[in-house]
């Protein structure tokens, strides 16, 4: 039920596309929009209360700690003269993507719910703001966003979180089943569930849920994106490759070696995974101070990267510079790009695989765009498969929606534990565990009563 999205909720989302652009907008719509905005917005001057259709200057703060998150321009627009015909608040932020996420987060903490795909438009339609022809487009949006193919990578990535939550879900379900069997079949000789056993499961689940919430707070890939560094010697076509991936001109592409002396960073949404691409200065012996600085920066970034895209020019023989870079990236998760297949080949794929020890190889032409789609899939695949190891342990991707779900589960687990401490009747504990399962169900899929019964019947011999 919760997934449907209640019509009376206040919804919020980042309204501008992913990326490192200077400004971005967080939009809220719904009856609570004004109240939430007033809670987190501190105007530089004038009253705290917001007046409709006025732009205000001030700061967004985390009200829990009164800590400033960003300097913003905020507009409140009272219903019905708005896009959705509900109260709408738009927050123009300045601090880049990470900050946008933080702003959205405090908005959600204030009581809004993250908007579903196409939901603002849907509301605009339901309120009669847009007409029937536009409604068709809404259907398309809703449909497109839920198209399995498009979302596949995100689904797979989420799969890692799902696995972790599924284990907890299973354990908790096991505890629930012992309680349900006990209370639903009073005439069978079924033992009372053990408080100790149930409490253990609750404690363990709580600890794990807290860990997962922590994984979000560590600021992992959903907030920062996956960092992928494009490396290779000078003039192998790194910048062209970046442009192909971004589908627009960002890096300066020339045929003069050493053009890219700065680290260029861009975010691109590949099949739902935010990938931050870093185009490195060619890692060679610097010829001047500017290059030296560029290379130093590149090395630093290299050590931060989750994934390395190593570019080799197929139309030239491998040289010492290539080999030096191979050594630099050794031991890191790397995929290999064999560029310039539009030119006559000088080296064989097998040769490069052997020298680098990397099996994951994509021949392409960054100039023409041949092979780019395969590479995109390869990048997503590598991320999905390997997760985002950085420094030490495996990190599970937790997005904001997951985090909210996990926080609700956490609160209920704490209540359930408190209830067991006070020895409340078992059926109340069952109700609380069910609610936790419902929340976790938003990540791993809903448990039907039929499944609970199935487990009861497979574990307990019941029958008249």
């Amino acid at each position: 039920m919760a997934l449907q999205g209640n019509e009376h909720d206040t919804i919020a989302a980042i309204a501008t596309p992913y990326g490192e652009s200077g400004i971005g907008i967080v939009r809220l719509s719904g009856p609570q929009a004004k109240r939430i905005a007033e809670r987190i917005f501190r105007p530089r001057s004038g009253p705290r209360a917001l007046t409709s259709h006025h732009i205000r200057y001030g700061e967004i703060v985390d009200p829990a700690q009164e800590r400033t998150i960003d300097e913003v321009l905020l507009t409140f627009m009272a219903a019905p003269k708005t896009y959705t015909r509900e109260d709408v608040v738009e927050i123009n932020c300045h601090g880049g993507f990470g900050v946008l996420r933080r702003v959205l987060e405090v908005v959600l903490q204030g009581g809004a719910r993250e908007a579903l795909p196409g939901e603002f438009t849907k509301r605009a339609f339901l309120s009669g703001r847009i007409d029937l022809a536009q409604a068709e487009a809404v259907l398309d949006i809703i449909q497109a966003k839920t198209d399995e193919g498009l979302r596949l990578a995100e689904e797979q990535l989420r799969g890692r979180l799902t696995q972790e939550v599924a284990v907890l879900h299973e354990e908790l379900l096991g505890a629930l089943v012992t309680i349900e069997a006990y209370i639903d079949f009073p005439e069978e000789d079924i033992d009372s569930p053990s408080t100790k056993g149930v409490v253990e499961v609750l404690h363990h689940t709580l600890a794990q849920v807290e860990g997962l919430i922590g994984a979000y707070e560590d600021g992992e890939i959903y907030r920062d994106g996956v960092k992928a560094a494009i490396v290779g010697k000078t003039n192998v076509g790194k910048s062209s490759l970046l442009n192909q991936l971004l589908e627009r001109e960002r890096a300066i592409v020339t045929a003069v070696p050493g053009t890219t002396t700065d680290v260029i960073e861009e975010a691109v949404n590949l099949s739902g995974v935010l990938i931050r691409l870093m185009d490195m200065a060619g890692l060679r012996e610097p010829r001047n101070e500017v290059e030296r600085e560029g290379i130093r920066l590149a090395r630093g970034k290299l050590s931060e990267a989750h994934l390395i895209i190593l570019v080799v020019d197929r139309s030239r023989l491998l040289d010492d510079e290539d080999r030096r870079i191979f050594r630099e990236v050794q031991g890191k998760r790397t995929i290999l790009v064999l560029n310039k297949i539009d030119l006559p080949p000088c080296i064989e794929a097998e040769e490069v695989k052997e020298e680098t020890g990397i099996k994951d190889l994509y021949p392409l032409s960054a100039l023409r765009g041949d092979g780019i789609e395969e590479l995109k899939r390869g990048i997503v695949g590598a991320v999905v498969q390997g997760g985002t190891k950085r420094g030490g342990g495996d990190l599970v991707p937790v997005n904001l929606r997951h985090k909210r779900v996990l926080e609700k589960a956490k609160g209920l687990l704490e209540e359930a534990l408190e209830g067991r401490r006070r020895e409340i009747p078992w059926d109340l504990t069952a109700i609380e565990i069910r609610q936790v399962l419902n929340h976790l169900g938003e990540i791993v899929g809903v448990t039907t009563p039929e499944e609970v019964l199935e487990m009861v019947f497979s574990r307990f011999c019941i029958g008249k």
């Binding site: 999205g5 339901l126 259907l139 449909q143 209370i183 639903d184 009747p425 059926d427 011999c461 029958g463």
Partner: protein, 554 residues
Amino acid sequence: MAKNTDATAIQFRRLNTKKGPAVQSSRAQSDRQAYRLRMKYILENQPLLEMKQGEVDRILVKGGRVEGVATTINEAFNGQAVIVAPGTFLNGLIHIGLTHFPAGRLGELPSVRLSESLREIGFEMGRLKTGTTPRWDGKTITFSRLGKQEGDDPPRPFSFSTGGLPHEFLPCYITYTNPKTHEIIRSGFDRSPLFTGVIEGIGARYCPSVEDKVVKFPDKERHQVFLEPEGLRTHECYPNGLATSLPLDIQRKMLRSIEGLEKVEIMRPGYGIEYDYVNPIQLKPTLETKLVEGLYHVGQINGTSGYEEAAAQGIIAGINAALKVRGETPFTLDRSEAYIGVLIDDLVTKGTQEPYRMFTSRAEYRLILREDNADLRLMDKGHRLGLVDDKIYNRFVEKKEAIACELARLQKIKIRPTAGINDRLKILGSNPIKNVTSLEELLRRPEITYHDLKVFDPSHDALPPEVAEQVELEVKYAGYIRKQEGLVERFRSMERVRIPEDIRYDTTPGLSNEIKEKLSRIRPMTLGQATRISGVTPAAISILMVQLKRMGAV
């Protein structure tokens, strides 16, 4: 039915009294013959009701509307509404060992033609299986060697309106199977219709035969057997837990291997029975069929199993058939109002592949669907429908007022933290109070009962126990109850969005073919019901909402 149970009961027991407020349940055993005869007599005396007997073998339908029924001797009964409640008789086939024969119950003819008639109308049908236990002669049981289980004293009646109860009660007895019994059971597997593939109907997981239990739980050394008397004026005995379709010689041998049953004589053998059912997704929530206007199905024909399940459907179909004839709005209960609502919604939304039985775990709002507040949930509705007379209803209104009054009073009466008060709290095993505290706050403490409040409030007259019980539950579990009520509110907001009957799913853009097919087949009445159809995604619900808006339905 509750009243009839009270009048003919031979034992009352309340179950789960220590497991929590939501799952306490009354169990009563009635004298089977006395129950049947008394109920028949009540029906015979019901004004405007004529009773006829005969074997119906076809449903008369014209232009998608029911016209009546016809019997095997070509006698026709015409009417605007027909309720079909054929139990296990539809094409029934009984199995005892490898012997099988058509029957509705042991010794009674099956309804074969009626099943064909339903199929001809166009209903999609399936086959289920259930079973029953052998009945024994109580004179041949050594009761002294069995565990005895008396009913509650004092017993609590089933119906809120029952004043007095009968005085003669009977105990039940408990015994167990043993490894020897299981060995005998296994020795009959080669002649078991269940394991040799003779039975094709699907049985219920929760109600396995004893041979099923032995197979599924080979490590369990004993299974409980509950011996229930069939009535006051009979020696016949019903052993709960021993349903079987094994051959008669195996049945006898296995019984005699059980403690206390060494000399037992079987009066009637246990048997398995297969019967036809009509997949209940072909029903509206009123239990009227979608195919034939005015035709209602109840009980096993809808794939359910159990007395309460059948009774629950009977009352809803009965009410709706009457409303239909009178041209009034249909009556349904939703999942937050009664288990009846959970049952019927499950049936018409999900259908069933095995005999369906109600369990509390099927309900989302268990804490609200309590036995003790059944009158508070349903009495108003019953009165409005004319099923609850004014006398009973007025008594109920008084009770409701008394509860509200007492809740307000407990909030108002406050006690001060004096030494005397804190001493009394200590005696009750409760912590001292530091501030002025209302009786309501005190009652919220787990260790304080409503009865305990008397100590702090001596001037107050005692309330009827059913009022005190409601007050105590309402205060003690207020937090949990409010939380469930919040969920119910959310649930109802989706339930309120009605889907017009003329909606076309095949031309709704954006829905996958699978979802179109499901929605067209089940034709949910509300958006809420649509969300419960398996495979219907949140995105599909969004699309439906847009479509409804477009049709001007919301």
